[in-house]
């Protein structure tokens, strides 16, 4: 399954900044809390640009990396 940015619903204050910067338009506000659009998901976010994480003033959305060694 494609990974999505992780959202901390308690922290999100619905400012919408992440939605503005997301070039893939996969983020939406539902009841004043950000969500990743269902189905569309962040599939198109093939680059994992992490812009949403960067702009979030309260650290409510995160794009973590796994660090692995090549086999």
């Amino acid at each position: 399954m494609t990974k999505m940015p992780e959202i901390d619903r308690d922290k999100c204050d619905g400012c919408g900044l992440c939605i503005e910067v997301c070039s893939c338009h996969v983020l939406v506000l539902v009841d004043n809390v950000v969500e990743v659009k269902e189905r569309i998901g962040c599939q198109q976010c093939s680059k994992w640009c992490t812009m949403c994480e960067m702009v979030c003033p309260v650290g409510a959305i995160q794009c973590p990396f796994d660090v692995i060694t090549e086999e």
Partner: protein
């Protein structure tokens, strides 16, 4: 006869003294062409060069000899006529950082001389070197008389600042890259498949730097072939090289 011996001995001791300090000659051998090849004196008229020439002393230095020690009062500016001089700083743990290499046409020790301070860096001859030097007082007097000299020096000092800024950028960036490399190595998925997931924000906090620097570092590590950035994965492709950057013993 006695007088003759005294004279010979005083000449000998003077010569020995000069040998100890590197050979200092202050004679007519100072060449206008050699002077003119230095940024300081380019574009000066022949008459202006003559007025400078009388203040110049020549110094021959052997390979490995230290011309200037960091922290000493800065008394003269040196111009490299032949050879190469390494201008460097030494950190408290003994590490040497080369600031620049002064080659023919370059000068060194100018910033502290104008700043009325102590030498900011040491200078060591990397080859046999011939230097021209000019004492601080003489230089200042000439500066007041020759506007072209002042203009040349201003240009040179601003180049020096540009050099320093790019060095600072490079140094701090290298350090951040090293820390990022270390963080990646410490957080690599272990043999049990235990994952340590890291955001760029985490890495920035761990490395004590701005988030933007993390993005740049990861990109550069990728350009250098040490990691491959995939969607939400950092794949370490050259562990040894990464360890080297991180300064971790292999």
């Amino acid at each position: 006869m006695k007088g003759g011996i005294e004279m010979i001995s005083s000449v000998c001791s003077a010569l020995l003294g000069n040998l100890e300090a590197g050979i200092i000659l202050n004679d007519m051998a100072v060449k206008a062409e050699s002077l003119q090849s230095n940024t300081y004196f380019s574009g000066l008229s022949p008459e202006e060069l003559v007025s400078i020439q009388k203040h110049i002393f020549e110094k021959a230095v052997t390979r490995g000899e230290i011309v200037i020690f960091e922290g000493e009062p800065a008394r003269a500016v040196y111009f490299v006529i032949s050879g190469v001089v390494k201008v460097f700083k030494t950190s408290s743990d003994g590490k040497e950082q080369i600031i620049y290499l002064a080659r023919p046409g370059d000068s060194f020790n100018d910033v502290p001389v104008f700043g009325e301070g102590l030498s900011l860096a040491s200078a060591e001859a990397m080859t046999q070197v011939v230097l021209y030097g000019m004492e601080k007082d003489d230089l200042e007097a000439s500066l007041r008389e020759l506007p072209k000299l002042a203009e040349n020096i201003l240009r040179l000092l601003s180049q020096r600042i540009e050099q320093m800024i790019s060095l600072v950028e490079d140094l701090s960036f290298r350090r951040v890259m090293g820390r990022v490399a270390k963080i990646l190595l410490e957080n690599v998925e272990d043999t049990n498949g235990q994952r340590h997931r890291l955001t760029q924000q985490d890495m920035a906090a761990m490395a004590g730097t701005a988030r933007e620097m993390i993005g740049r570092s990861l990109k550069l590590l990728e350009d250098e072939g040490k990691v491959r950035l995939e969607r939400n994965r950092v794949v370490i492709t050259d562990k040894e090289a990464l360890r080297e950057i991180a300064g971790v013993g292999i």
